[in-house]
Symmetry: C2
Subunit: 351 residues, 2 copies
DNA sequence: ACCGGGGATGTTTACGCAAACATTGCGGCG
DNA sequence: CGCCGCAATGTTTGCGTAAACATCCCCGGT
């Protein structure tokens, strides 16, 4: 299989002399036509007689011609590619959002290039933005859930359309996000409506915008209802951290309802309560956030706040492509609504 | 959605007239130097006097210059980008493998472009390969777990280094995969060693190579041990499908051990057994496959076969980059070993 | 004072493609 | 019978960059 390329020879190194790839000129020579005719055939343009077209096609086949996308992009000034900057695919939210972005971009004929930020430090982010300048992308979607955006935005290349997901970048940017605050409100209201006196909360890692917003929704809902606000339990999105939080919560005598900032931590809670002999939902009610597919199979199936990842992805792509196409896009935040999915992990509080 | 593709101004359409981007020539003019000097500054080449360098840098800043990667790629003949073809990010395996690929590619200075195959039909695959020809990638990693590769490989662009993951593409290709058969063997052996007479199996969707290989490992291990081979239960990787399979399995009187082809289906099994009043592992033992992070927080924590996704990703990148760099790579399959992670879902069979 | 050398910078060129423009050839019509 | 018009194809050009080569100038040595 094809060892065409030579030693790395990237920018910075002298480009190694390589077996030149077959170009339009080669095909043209072989087919006995001009390069322009090859171009026309290659792009399906009209005005080429069938016999000629076939000769060209045959020549392409024989030579294994592949159009050079660099040259094409240089000509068109576009790559039909969107860059996505993110920290990790390990969280369900990130990977589902990415999938939605990929799918909708594909519908529009755009591919996605991932620009990972290895370490979520300031330098890491700056590095990603720098690399961005060298990358073959027409626009960028930034998915950063930690407090590093400000440091980084300074460096956002001018002239590249940008859409930001799941952050609270200021209004100069185009932002798309799930309505975290309202989602949390729904979760808390549901528990309150069931008769629970108050609701405990297991939050996400420090510095996470998303975690902060969900906690805000939780706190303000309690305050507005005039309920006491219990101390916050800290997690890091992982089931394991939810388990640890649950072990502690199980010892709180008046804890009858817990809202976990994501489904994975809710899973940990369920296990902790189970081990401590507390029956969900008889003794404690649990609500999650995300509605990952697995949550319907937890024991018991989890009541949770459904995030419409597909819609978030769709809107990101739509808004970023509007910019690429020079259509007006006003900065500001687009919120995608959530909905509460009722399953079996919530009930009235024990009498 | 769907602003039509014709708005895009891509190949085939007249390129949208856009404000021409700032080029080296513009910077050169502004700084009062030649384009070549700008190039030298831009690439950090030596031989530019400090005062000149600063002028150029200033001009770049003012004008918001960004190097044009298309032109660069055209010059160098490389994009420093690897294309990854996959069906979906919804399964944990895919997204974790992708993450590993992204990370290791980044270490080597390569970005990843995703080429989604919307529908896993023959046409879908062919379409992806066709688009591939237009994409700015130096190599391709194909992650396809269904039986469509043969139809598609015919069309694999010549001259592009390719590595295939998780499939049984024939030996003409470079293949990297987890050792599925051996992983399944470990799971089954473990259960047999505990004293179970035989092991039932919940397999993945029809047509999945991975599912097939795990089922093969299960079956041959049983056969070699001279144990009866129970009928196969069919799932589709989802927890829900595992749940349905579990409901049926719970009614089999002599079913004391189940090996699920992935952790998510195992989750469904746990729930089904729980609902049917069967205690895991006292009444039934369950083993999963993948070792997703959540599985440690299942009720009970799941014994499962750990897949080293990071290693799979690393090897894919390594082997594909060897090809890019024209180093020898012999076709054939590289198997990444698994290991069994013992947790609390397995025990001796009921007496 | 003159020349050689080398560092700093400028000029030319090619990368592969496709738009714009140029040429060829053929059929139909006055 | 000659010319027009159009369809098919060819030629030129430029996209932005950076290697290769050319030039300039200053400085030190003789």
């Amino acid at each position: 299989m094809s060892l065409t390329r030579s030693d790395a020879g990237g920018p910075g190194d002298p480009p190694a002399r390589r077996a030149r790839r077959v170009s339009m000129a080669d095909v043209a020579r072989r087919a006995g036509v001009s390069a322009q005719t090859v171009s026309r055939v290659s792009n399906g343009h009209p005005g080429v007689v069938d016999s000629t077209r076939e000769q060209v096609l045959a020549a392409m086949q024989e030579l294994g011609y592949r159009p050079n996308s660099a040259a094409r992009a240089l000509k068109y000034g576009q790559f039909r590619t969107i860059g996505v900057i993110l920290f990790t695919l390990a969280t369900v939210g990130n990977s589902r959002t990415l999938e939605a972005i990929v799918d909708h971009a594909a519908e529009e004929g755009y591919a996605i290039t991932l620009i990972p930020v290895a370490v979520p430090t300031r330098d890491g982010v700056l590095g990603a933005f720098t690399r961005l300048g060298e990358l073959a992308v027409d626009a960028v979607i930034v998915s950063m859930e930690v407090h590093l955006l400000d440091a980084a935005t300074v460096n956002l290349p001018v002239g590249v359309p940008v859409v930001v997901v799941a952050s609270d970048a200021d209004d100069r940017y185009v932002v798309v996000d799930t309505d975290q605050v309202d989602g949390a409100r729904r979760a808390v209201r549901h528990l309150l409506d069931l008769g629970h006196r108050t609701v405990w909360h297991v939050t996400g890692p420090e510095g996470s915008f998303v975690a902060e917003r969900r906690a805000t929704g939780w706190r303000t809902t309690l305050e507005q209802a005039g309920r006491p606000v219990p101390p916050l339990a800290h997690g890091d999105w992982s089931a394991e951290s939810g388990y640890r939080a649950g072990l502690a919560l199980a010892d709180e005598p008046d804890c009858t309802a817990v809202f976990a900032a994501n489904d994975q931590m809710a899973l940990g809670l369920l296990r902790a309560f189970h081990e401590k002999g507390k029956v969900v939902p008889r003794d404690v009610s649990v609500v999650g956030f995300d509605d990952i597919p697995d949550s319907a199979s937890f024991i018991p199936p989890l009541t949770t706040v459904h995030q419409d990842f597909a819609e978030v992805g769709r809107r990101c792509v739509e808004r970023v492509l509007r910019q690429v196409r020079n259509k007006p896009v006003e900065p500001g935040t687009t919120l995608v609504p959530t909905r509460l999915v009722l399953r079996e992990s919530t009930a009235r509080p024990p009498a």
